[in-house]
Symmetry: C2
Subunit: 229 residues, 2 copies
């Protein structure tokens, strides 16, 4: 999967708003890249000069707390862009972006993005909508972490992971995470995740084999997550 058939195509939610001249400008300046598992696109605290549009693979975006513990904020996959927050706010990166499934990306310099925002109203509006939706999700997550128990949050995360990444033919979650990564999403200790997973398994909500998680009772998880939306 390359840029032209993904982000820089007429089917991409954001870049479809570009006219031919703008598209050619981006095409001439973009850089494609391949990233191995474990490699890092940018570190928290870096100055970022451009955005990455993900073509394939999965990137985890996280902050590092004062004690060194990761807090995973989102995952980026095909078609999604990362790094734009820092580029647009003229701030240093507030997150680290690390590859968890081998990925290909398309890097676009920040000046071009800013130029597009200033000159192409539809592009600006689309990007604004994306940012605002992300902000809405962040607000929801703040409320969840502050008010729900770890078990409720884990159930909710499992649901989100299924909705976002889907399942294979055996109903196994397509995204594969370590227990520690799950803990760093939910905001709890690794051991707590292990205990809760085995509890869910015991209650026939899940089937677990190593990192493979199969959801047996989706609505049961919904009930536990206690979120009605």
């Amino acid at each position: 999967m390359d840029c032209v058939s993904n982000c820089l195509s007429k089917s991409h939610f954001l870049f479809k708003h570009l006219n031919d001249d703008e598209l050619n400008l981006v095409l001439s300046e973009k850089k494609e890249g391949v990233h191995k598992r474990g490699s890092v696109l940018y570190y928290e605290g870096n100055r970022i000069n451009g955005i990455y549009c993900i073509n394939t693979g999965i990137i985890k975006v996280f902050k590092t707390g004062n004690d060194g513990k990761e807090q995973i904020l989102r995952f980026a996959r095909m078609g999604e862009i990362i790094g734009y927050r820092s580029v647009l706010s003229s701030e240093l990166a507030c997150t680290t972006a690390e590859v968890i499934n081998e990925a290909t990306s398309c890097y676009i310099p920040g000046e071009i993005i800013i130029e597009l925002i200033k000159n192409n109203g539809d592009f600006a509006f689309e990007l604004m909508q994306l940012t605002c939706r992300e902000l809405g999700e962040a607000n929801s997550y703040i409320t969840d972490i502050a008010q729900k128990t770890a078990k409720e949050r884990l159930a909710e995360i499992l649901i989100h992971l299924k909705d976002e990444f889907g399942v294979d033919e055996n109903n196994v979650l397509k995204i594969s995470l370590t227990r520690e990564e799950l803990a760093n999403i939910v905001g709890t200790a690794t051991e707590s995740i292990i205990r809760m997973l085995s509890e869910f398994k015991h209650d026939n909500l899940l089937e677990i084999k190593g990192r493979e998680i199969k959801i047996l009772n989706y609505s049961g998880l919904e009930n536990i997550s206690n979120s009605f939306y």
Copy 2:
């Protein structure tokens, strides 16, 4: 304080980017409003058709959890705008905006804001920057709530409240909140806030008389909050 001397002036961070025609358009469509303590500008779940620029007073912006408990996400004061997230993302309001200090505001219809974004690149970029900074703050707060103890968060919130709203001549925080509201920012129980406040008082970090909070040892709070920024 009215619109013309605040939001719709050449000194406002956002609306200073408007040219005379645009400014006149906004001026002709805006509606000024006065809001008593306890009144609500919009409720979570409402469809919002415009944004509010706050001239005076303080608005608290919060989400309501599934059990009815408020989670305060931010406060808006002079010059700040609220409601833009929902207008721009074309989603229902994800928060409620309630007046805690008698306020005056300037309401601007959403279509006008969207038109400005599409036609005025500098305006669009400025608003984008604001949104991205808010998103960065939300990400920080997620990490804090997930990783810090309630005591660390309370210390941090007290510092933020001082930095954002300042203190009067007696060094008393200018924003006055109930214990419950403090709890709904920190994400803890009211009783826990009370216990922690009296602990801070005992440690000579604060002086407390009812809702008046005087910060005696700012750097002591910083140390407790354990946040280095």
